[in-house]
Amino acid sequence: MAAENATTIDPEDVARFSAIADEWWDPDGKFKPLHRFNPIRLHYIRDRICTHFGRDKQSLRPFAGLRLLDVGCGGGLISEPLARMGADVTGIDASERNIRTAQVHAKQGSLDISYRSTTVEEIAATGESYDAVISLEVVEHVADVDLFLDGCAALTADNGAIALATLNRTPKSFALGIVGAEYIMRWLPRGTHKWKKFVRPSELARGLRRNGITVEDISGLTFNPLNSEWQVSGDVSVNYVLFGTR
């Protein structure tokens, strides 16, 4: 397989994607806010999945043997840590550019991750299922939230788990998520988010319950400006994460 690949890889292409990967993975670069936000998201997911599957969260490879799907994986900022935690990871993204970027970066780090450029509907149609489906900061960008949730739920195996993170549609999320993050702090490029597309926890929960998912927890992820740290909290008015099981 390696030999076959060798003939189809365009070295210029690799250089281009490797440059984009450097951008994605520079903790002080364009994606700095995501890097700062990443540990708390992973923390939440690690703890919940460990509890659900009876894994030891103190272990360095708590997810050994679990098959995880990262929906909207981007450059692999979540897929790579999940793989290092021992999981068998599939990352999907609608953008071919993101997938190529993620592939190049995983290869540089000798990580074995299966990246595919596809959509959640397409992959759901194949009848595949995963121990856990994870999709972070994606649902607020999709065209049809219900269709997206149907797909994610269908991909969640029996006794499996699902974790979704997004932004709530509240006045506060407009103030912090749009005005604050894009205009004042300049954490994100203007136009990254459309407030109208933010999703209320009730809408997420409804879409999942309809598909046989039990919502186990909804928690807020809040930024503490005093110590510049993110933390898990009860305040779901801006960033929040939902954990469900089937």
Binding site: R36, P39, L42, P81, A83, R84, M85
Partner: protein
């Protein structure tokens, strides 16, 4: 030559570096240690004649990595600290009962500590590259490659400079250090005495510098005698009888007859402080980051606090599948440790300057200060808890929790 890959490569197999190595190995990280000598040679009594003051917080760290059980039998608790200014009667008195958290600390001979480390490392999965020095280091985006003099190479996500005040890795990483020397030499030896020490540590501020008598096991004490550089060589040359007489002249007769051990060591005293504790893919700990005056017996303790903090940062990231050596992790370490260490450098430096002289007005002022502190129990308690390493933003290991 093959390259071995590790999460963490610790350069320097001293007491601070090995604490980090054992702590991280204990939670499942792949750890290498590179040491130019050998760990067993370093545990020989002739290698290092010093004793270390292990503060209460440090004891918890050593307990947390499983080392304390190997050390306990050789550790003498410090129950009481008495500070006196020369011949003056004024002194400061720290009694462990005022804090109520067990002994103030322990004195253990470094040879015992090093032996315990060598044993613990032999029983662990830490890979040791001994008898070989660091030849070069390449710092890359996601890892660092250490080239050893014997031709082997070690690849690690993060390299730790734990190779002392002259740290080779610190230099290779381009980290500059500020340094100054004291016109003082630390003379170190062990004495056996007639009368029991009752677990009391004495610090006498003499005009040449602090003179400490630290309680050790089996009715012995460790002497740390700070002497002017111009006088030190002559003192080191004295025969045992004259040397004992000089000692006794300095600390009086309260320990009865005193017999000096077979060896004396001399250490030049200086301060080295790294401008940064971190560089891409490198973090400096212990003396490689900050070597201080031994006046308060805090050097080893600061190093242990560094590694307790760094170990926590590293393991928290490894457990989330995150890079333990990226900028975020490194900056967090520097932010956590640098202010505390700078404060201790400043405090030990001022203490030394304040007390290592015999200028009458200065002496009067400092004696009033000592007496005042002694009369203010709340202030005294804070100072004691600080010296015990129980103040500030404490890492899990220092709080007595598992890593």
């Amino acid at each position: 030559m093959t390259t071995e890959r590790f999460d963490i490569a610790v350069v320097g197999g001293g007491m601070v570096g090995l604490t980090l190595a054992l702590g991280l190995e204990g939670v499942g990280a792949r750890v290498a240690v590179i040491e130019r000598a050998s760990l067993t040679d370093m545990a020989e009594a002739s290698f290092d004649g010093r004793g270390s003051a292990i503060a209460a917080g440090s004891q918890r760290i050593l307990d947390g990595i499983g080392l304390w059980e190997l050390l306990q039998a050789d550790a003498e608790p410090i129950l009481d600290i008495r500070v006196a200014d020369g011949a003056s009667q004024l002194f400061l008195h720290y009694d462990h009962r005022e804090v109520g958290e067990g002994p103030l600390g322990w004195i253990v001979e470094n040879a015992h500590i090093r032996r315990a480390f060598a044993q613990a490392v032999a029983l662990s999965d830490v890979i040791v590259f001994e008898n070989t020095a660091l030849a070069d280091a390449r710092f890359e985006a996601r890892s660092t490659t250490l080239e050893l003099v014997d031709g082997r190479t070690v690849d690690a996500t993060l390299a730790i400079a734990a190779d002392g005040r002259q740290s080779a890795l610190r230099k290779l990483a381009g980290i500059e250090a500020v340094r100054w020397s004291y016109p003082q030499t630390g003379i170190v030896c062990a004495v056996t005495h007639e009368a029991p020490h009752h677990g009391i540590a004495h610090e006498h501020f003499l005009p040449s510098g602090p003179f400490a008598i630290l309680p050790m096991t089996r009715n012995r004490s460790s002497i740390v005698w700070t002497e002017r550089n111009d006088l030190a060589p002559a003192i080191l040359e004295l025969d045992d009888d004259d040397f004992s007489a000089e000692l006794k002249r300095r600390f009086g007769g309260f320990l009865g007859d005193v017999r000096v051990g077979p060896q004396r060591w001399a250490y030049p005293l200086s301060v080295v402080h790294a401008r940064d504790y971190v560089a891409p893919r490198v973090a400096a700990v212990g003396d490689a980051a900050h070597a201080i005056h031994p006046i308060a017996g805090q050097g080893f303790n600061l190093g242990l606090r560094d590694v307790a903090a760094l170990a926590e940062i590293i393991v928290d990231r490894l457990r989330l599948g995150l890079d333990p050596g990226d900028t975020e992790a490194l900056m967090r370490y520097q932010k956590w440790r640098k202010p505390d260490n700078m404060m201790m450098i400043a405090a030990t430096d001022s203490l030394n300057r304040l007390f290592s002289n015999d200028i009458a007005p200065v002496r009067m002022a400092r004696d009033t200060g000592l007496a005042l502190v002694n009369q203010l129990p709340p202030l005294k308690r804070v100072l004691m808890r600080h010296a015990m390493g129980l103040v500030g933003d404490l890492p899990r290991l220092t709080r007595g929790e598992p890593l």
